[in-house]
């Protein structure tokens, strides 16, 4: 038996490869060889660890030491210190943003500490290109159980009882969906996987496909058995080449091992699985459009009913599930529904993976029990807003979702509670925004996306999103008028009520939630021509409060259009005619002497509500 004293799990997900995994791997291998450690220490390449921003990352077992931001230059020192002399190398460890102390072990790093891994159970622990490693972690045991010890009804019952809901967006109960399809009589049925992941910024499905492709395949085998399908497709977007490569390799290995194809594990059950490359349009992720696209037609939604359980792909009964939904299946079959329900709430059971991004200290993938408060995710796991800035809103659910304000951060993350705010859980995109963000601009950003991605089949969606976008553009450029907010709200509700598919039915959410929670911001844009965050260029004047200015010159040095003048240690001044309102002086001034005023402002700034000038600043305030 080959025996190693340490396993070095080096991340080879898309993010880490982009930041240099391949070169680091070579350097690591060479150095280990040079030190004569190659028979004691094994390097294993894993899929994404969900911490891509700090990549390439490396976990060392059995010590459980976690290293980040590896570089080729640091490798000799790392090998000498840790692997030869046994002294974990502090320089490459995680350090808390404010303090400088290193945290050596993964399980102590706040970002990882609060997570519960079910979907991501094999994250960073296996080589996704070796089926043996998946099997060594109980892989395909659930498929074996489902094929030999369970009837179709047994499988459906466990999944129903588990309370699992689809992770692709709508949160439809998975067991119920399987039940519908299993009851329809047909010689041909299809089991499908949605790996389109169209939400900008989301990457949980990619990560699962890259890091643990067999978990998706095993879920599909069990689903196929439950509904009586013998053919399946995984629909993956072509922009995910590594996911496609690993899935194909996994399918080939599983087929060779008799886990796919005819007579799986000698049980007499057949299931053939293929990959289909998606063209990339957002609407192709919608189930009826996805099936049209699979048939080789243009990906456009069609009215339901008939539902896919009756008439899906090629009008045959079909079930489509999201990648993350499918990755949850095998452990539920092995451990039972009570085990699954032990986390989460009554109606939102189990765990959900979120892609945490934006103006926050720790960005990445986080898997947490449903029902934990948003605040825990943002502050305990995410480490709060960057540079100690003030939290403003969190955007959930991507372009179909909405913005949730500070006052609602204590609500639990469940399908019901999030919908009540006007946002949706969606596929799990979570973008944190600080006080540097303009909420009207945020709504506009998402509408640009949906207006562009509308497939054009139905008028409310095609024309409606365009009108919403034009109005938002007007507001951010100073052409907003009284009554605009009401028009936006009315039109938004109409689009939701009359659109054919989920794209149109959710596209107004970003507008409606920002109006609901940030009304004052719309008002100041429309009435006072004032973007208080200083983002909308037509609606701001940058002004230096001479009484507060220390004359350090930081603003002047950073100004790209030489619009600031002033002598050292004397108050500086902005020449408004030259200023392009790029905001960089505002960021640069350590003394908060630069104020954001309404467009073309002339008069006394101290009379403006919300602007703290020198006279009002309390002593000791920085």
């Amino acid at each position: 038996m080959e025996k190693f004293r340490a396993n070095l799990m080096l991340c080879a997900g898309t993010g880490c490869v982009a930041s240099g995994t391949t070169k680091v791997r070579d350097a690591l291998r060479d150095e280990i060889q040079k030190r004569g450690l190659d028979e004691e220490i094994k390097i294993v390449l894993t899929g994404c660890n969900g911490y891509c921003a700090e990549g390439p990352v490396l976990s060392v077992y059995p010590d459980e030491i976690f290293y980040q931001k590896l570089t080729v230059e640091e490798i000799p020192k790392l090998v000498e210190e840790h692997f030869l002399k046994g002294r974990p190398y502090e320089k490459l460890m995680f350090k808390e943003p404010e303090k400088k102390t290193a945290i050596p072990m993964m399980k102590d790093i706040p970002f990882f500490k609060h997570q519960v891994l079910r979907v991501l159970r094999n994250k960073g622990l296996i080589d996704p290109e070796k089926i043996e490693e998946y099997i060594a972690r109980d892989g395909y045991q659930a498929a074996a159980k489902a094929l030999t010890q369970m009837t179709q009804e047994d499988i459906i019952k466990v999944i129903k009882d588990s309370g699992l809901r689809g992770r692709g967006g709508a949160g439809f109960p998975t067991g119920l969906k399987w039940d519908f399809a299993s009851k329809v009589k047909s010689d041909i049925k299809y089991m499908l996987c949605n790996g389109d992941e169209g939400d900008p910024g989301a990457f949980m499905d990619r990560s699962v496909m890259e890091a643990d492709p067999h978990s998706v395949i095993e879920g599909m085998i069990i689903g196929a058995r439950a509904i009586g399908a013998h053919h399946g497709y995984i629909y993956v977007r072509a922009e995910y080449p590594l996911a496609v490569k690993r899935l194909q390799l996994a399918i080939d290995q599983a087929t060779e091992a008799g886990l796919l194809g005819n007579n799986i594990l000698d049980t007499g059950f057949d299931f053939k699985l293929e990959i289909y490359l998606g063209a990339g349009a957002f609407v192709c992720g919608e189930e009826t459009a996805l099936m049209r696209s699979l048939e080789g037609k243009r990906g456009m939604p069609r009215p339901r009913p008939p539902f896919p359980a009756h008439k899906g792909l090629w009008d045959k009964p079909s079930v489509l599930n999201n990648v993350e939904t499918l990755a949850q299946i095998a452990p539920i079959i092995l451990n039972g529904s009570d085990w699954y329900r032990s986390l989460g709430t009554e109606k939102s059971t189990g765990t959900k993976v979120f892609a945490l991004t934006g103006a926050i200290n720790n960005v990445g993938l986080v898997e947490v029990p449903m029902g934990i408060p948003l605040r825990t995710i943002i502050y305990d796991i995410g480490g709060g807003p960057k540079k100690g800035r003030k939290f403003k809103a969190v955007q959930l659910g991507g372009p179909s979702g909405g913005c949730i304000p500070e006052s609602l951060l204590d609500i639990p993350v469940t399908y019901e509670d999030i919908v009540a705010t006007g946002a949706i859980v969606g596929s799990g995109g979570m973008v944190v925004m600080d006080d540097n963000t303009c909420m009207v601009g945020t709504a506009k950003f998402f509408l640009e996306f949906t207006a562009d991605e509308s497939c054009g089949k139905c008028t409310p969606c095609r024309v409606g999103t365009k009108i919403l976008l034009d109005m938002l553009t007007d507001i951010t450029e100073g052409r907003g008028k009284e009554g605009d907010m009401e028009t936006l709200e009315d039109l938004g509700r109409d689009i939701i009520a009359t659109s054919l598919c989920g794209l149109g039915q959710t596209a107004p959410n970003p507008v409606l939630t920002t109006i609901k929670y940030f009304r004052d911001e719309y008002e100041s844009h429309i009435k006072h021509k004032w973007c208080k965050a200083g983002v909308c260029r037509s609606l701001t004047t940058f002004w230096i409060d001479e009484k507060m200015c220390k004359g350090c010159g930081a603003c002047l040095r950073g100004c790209p259009s030489k619009a600031i003048m002033g002598e050292k240690k004397k108050p500086h001044k902005i020449i408004q005619e030259l200023c392009v309102r790029c905001r960089s002086c505002y960021e640069a001034c350590k003394f908060k002497s630069i104020k954001i005023l309404p467009a073309n402002f002339e008069g006394d700034p101290s009379e403006l509500v919300g602007v703290t000038t020198e006279t009002e600043t309390k002593k000791g305030e920085s």
Binding site: G36, I135, Y140, G258, L265
Partner: protein, 127 residues
């Protein structure tokens, strides 16, 4: 890979037990070889190699080996600490190829500390 039968899944799992004991932390005994500059000079590498050899020969997946820095006892190097789950750790000193092989058989597999080579019994754990 040939076509699998259901029993084969368990066999594959067994075969990979050693690697996963490292990654998942399910081990019974841990040996820490002190690899400070002095330890290496005194022959800690040979001790390590001998130990790895014994583990491989005995086909054990429940014993793991780690290294640590200087233990502050340079005169008594090579040093190693043996920790069996739920027992107090034992530090061995002045080790050699032969001594570590004996310790492996007697203490790690047999459960009886080899007192004649022990420096201290029941010192602090390495973590």
């Amino acid at each position: 890979m040939p076509r699998l039968k259901i029993e084969d899944l368990q066999k594959i799992k067994e075969k990979h037990k050693a690697d996963f004991a490292l990654r998942e932390g399910g081990y019974r005994a841990k040996v820490t070889v002190h690899m400070g500059t002095c330890g290496i000079a005194a022959g800690a590498r040979n001790v390590m190699t001998a130990l790895m050899d014994e583990i491989a020969k005995a086909n054990r997946s429940d014993v793991i080996v780690t290294t640590s820095g200087c233990a502050g006892l340079c005169a008594r190097e090579p040093l190693a600490t043996v920790e069996i789950m739920n027992q107090s750790p034992v530090k061995y000193c002045d080790l050699s190829d032969e001594k570590i092989r004996e310790i492996f058989k007697e203490h790690i597999l047999g459960g009886n500390p080899v007192e004649k080579y022990a420096l201290v019994m029941g010192s602090e754990t390495t973590y």
